[in-house]
């Protein structure tokens, strides 16, 4: 141990605690740098938990495999004439659906986590209130990544040949990850509001099913009745799916990509502050 250490460096050694010095050292809020360190620390915690409980990866592993194959062989002929013609439509749709499933898990897990004893500790520490929310969401980027890549690989295995090439695919996966992460703030907000993890699960289901099935994720919007088309057109999931299709199939950065990105930004700007506020109030 060094001899020039300050008090915080030698927390347990002979130097006496000096209350007035401690008061003088306090700050009225965390600096941006401090917040970043806190968010990373919480992300580290979430990663540790993922490693210890690999069963939470089941949804991101099973869903892409199962749904891609199932939907392709069941609906392929009916919707697009053949499985190989359906794949360019289907794969981006499955991608969006999988990302939403991961979002939902984010909200449910946050709620479960908030009921644990350790959250009392987090509340009593001088940390920014956004850290316990944003930390797990950073760790979740890994889950979005795994889910997207797995869906794409399953598609390739059953004969999908994306016209956008490698760059188009990388772009499409990146957009899916960004969209998933942004939409997750909605479910995080739900997580901070709801009474229990089960209720988060229930509410999220009710949001997720209309969002994915009342979109162009699995069928072309033109085949739907007019009133439904109106909803499908404003559904942000439709825009993300269209954008990912453009990237995967044509390697083109179209207006749809722009709309999808703008939609994501809007969602984050609205729901991240809502989530933090509702979380702070819970304490």
């Amino acid at each position: 141990m060094t001899t020039t250490s300050t008090m915080t460096e030698t927390p347990l050694t002979a130097r006496r605690v000096d209350p007035s010095a401690a008061v003088a050292r306090t700050t009225s809020r965390s600096s941006v740098r401090e917040v970043w360190v806190q968010v990373l620390a919480m992300a580290w915690r979430a990663l540790k938990k993922m490693r210890r409980k690999p069963e939470q990866f089941f949804d991101v592993l099973i869903q892409p495999l199962l749904f891609t194959a199932m939907f392709a062989f069941i609906f392929g002929g009916a919707i697009s004439g053949s499985v190989s013609d359906y794949l360019p439509v289907l794969i981006p749709g499955i991608l969006a659906q999988t990302a939403l499933t991961v979002c939902m898990a984010t909200g449910v897990q946050l709620r479960e986590d908030m009921d644990k004893g350790v959250f009392d500790r987090f509340k009593s520490l001088p940390i920014a209130r956004v850290a316990p929310l944003a930390g797990p969401m950073i760790a979740d980027l890994i889950r979005y990544g795994i889910a997207s890549v797995l869906t794409l690989v399953t598609g390739l295995a059953i004969g999908y040949r994306p016209g956008g090439g490698v760059l188009g695919c990388v772009g499409g996966v990146a957009l899916t990850v960004i969209s998933g992460w942004s939409l997750a703030w909605i479910f995080t907000w739900l997580g901070t509001m709801a009474r229990s993890a089960q209720s988060v699960q229930g509410i999220s289901m009710m949001i997720m099913f209309p969002l994915t099935f009342l979109s162009n994720a699995f069928v072309p919007a033109e085949t739907l009745p007019g009133w439904l088309q109106v909803f499908v057109k404003v559904n942000p999931v439709s825009h993300v799916v269209s954008a990912v299709r453009d990237l995967f199939n044509d390697g083109a950065v179209t207006a749809e990509v722009g709309w999808a990105v703008i939609g994501c930004v809007v969602v984050v700007v609205i729901f991240a502050p809502l989530a933090v506020r509702s979380y702070s109030r819970k304490m």
Partner: protein, 323 residues
């Protein structure tokens, strides 16, 4: 610099619906002391502590910690107070070392320093061997120690301990007491709650007794005990018919009036000086009276309550009403 006191709370109020869990409590804790808050289940101890620690909102009154306003500057308060709650608030899915590392990082320590401090705390609290095991394998006592260690990472000048020894075995309880005394030697101030008069007696410089959200007394443990009364010597005679004889011996030796239960041959004798218990025993032996059991009982929290409030500590109807 004037001593602002560690805690100054005036007329604190917390309401849950129309039930007042904390009903106008004043609390002044001096720097460097151990201040005990004594009270039965549901008295409002935890609620009061959580309000002061910014974990619950303050519905009425005013609180300052080292001169910092609790309501207006919660972030500063959190830098000054280490909280060890009634139930361990550590992460069950991490190891002990990972817990300490995480809490240290969250409070802005660098990675290496966080590692050093985690190591030091594990050693100080006798947790090195279990350091890398999952917490699910920890005993209640180990969890408690880890929880306390987690509150000490930045050496906060004020430490809240909510029933720090409830559920610990006598040896672990003794160790906890030693640790608490060390913290004060290092310059920290301690505010602790307890249900045991004995614990307050051992540790605290001053004690506030609270009941149903109100403070009913505040004094040194000695003064409180004097208010309450003395220990008692409890005897059972081998032959109950000797009881009148035995009572006479007690009166002659101690000048105290024993309380008799002739049916069972038992008597309770007020004992201002515990040393004189031996006089009674010798006196009975010399008179040829056999004893089947003997014990010395200290005043209990229940007796403190009876003396201070006129009702017992375990007061079921009140507990029901609180629900």
């Amino acid at each position: 610099m004037a001593d602002l006191g560690a805690v100054r709370a005036e007329n604190l109020v917390k309401e849950f619906g129309d039930f007042r869990a904390v009903d106008g409590i004043d609390l002044h804790v001096r720097q460097g002391e151990i201040f005990g808050v004594l009270g039965p289940n549901g008295a409002g101890k935890t609620t009061m502590l959580r309000m002061l620690a910014t974990l619950l909102s303050i519905d009425g009154g005013h609180a300052e910690i080292f001169g910092v306003d609790v309501r207006r500057e919660p972030h500063r308060i959190r830098q000054l107070v280490g909280v060890t709650g009634q139930y361990a608030s550590v992460d069950e899915d991490l190891t002990a070392r990972e817990n300490l590392w995480l809490f240290a990082r969250l409070q802005g320590l660098t990675g290496t320093r966080a590692k050093t401090i985690a190591g030091e705390l594990l050693e100080r609290f006798g947790l090195q061997e279990a350091a890398d095991r999952p917490l699910s394998q920890f005993s209640g006592g180990m969890r408690r120690r880890l929880d306390l260690a987690s509150s000490l990472i930045t050496r906060p000048p004020l430490i809240f301990l909510d029933e720090p020894t409830t559920g610990l075995d006598p040896r672990t309880r003794g160790q906890m007491w030693d640790t608490i005394r060390e913290l004060v030697t290092d310059g920290s101030t301690i505010l602790l709650t307890t249900q045991y008069l004995d614990e307050a007696d051992q540790l605290a410089d001053r004690v506030a007794v609270i009941d149903r959200g109100r403070k009913v007394a505040e004094d040194t443990p000695d003064a409180l005990k004097t208010q309450v009364g003395d220990s008692t010597l409890q005897l059972s005679l081998a032959d109950g018919s000797d009881i009148a004889l035995a009572a006479n011996i007690v009166r002659r030796l101690l000048g105290e009036e024993p309380v008799l239960t002739p049916e069972s041959g038992r008597m309770n004798i007020p004992l201002p000086d515990p040393n004189r218990a031996a006089d009674v025993l010798i006196g009975l032996r010399e008179a040829g009276l056999g004893i089947s059991s003997v014990s010395v009982a200290k005043p209990t929290l229940d007796e403190v309550f009876l003396a201070l409030t006129g009702h017992g500590a375990v007061d079921e109807p009140q507990m029901e009403a609180a629900r």
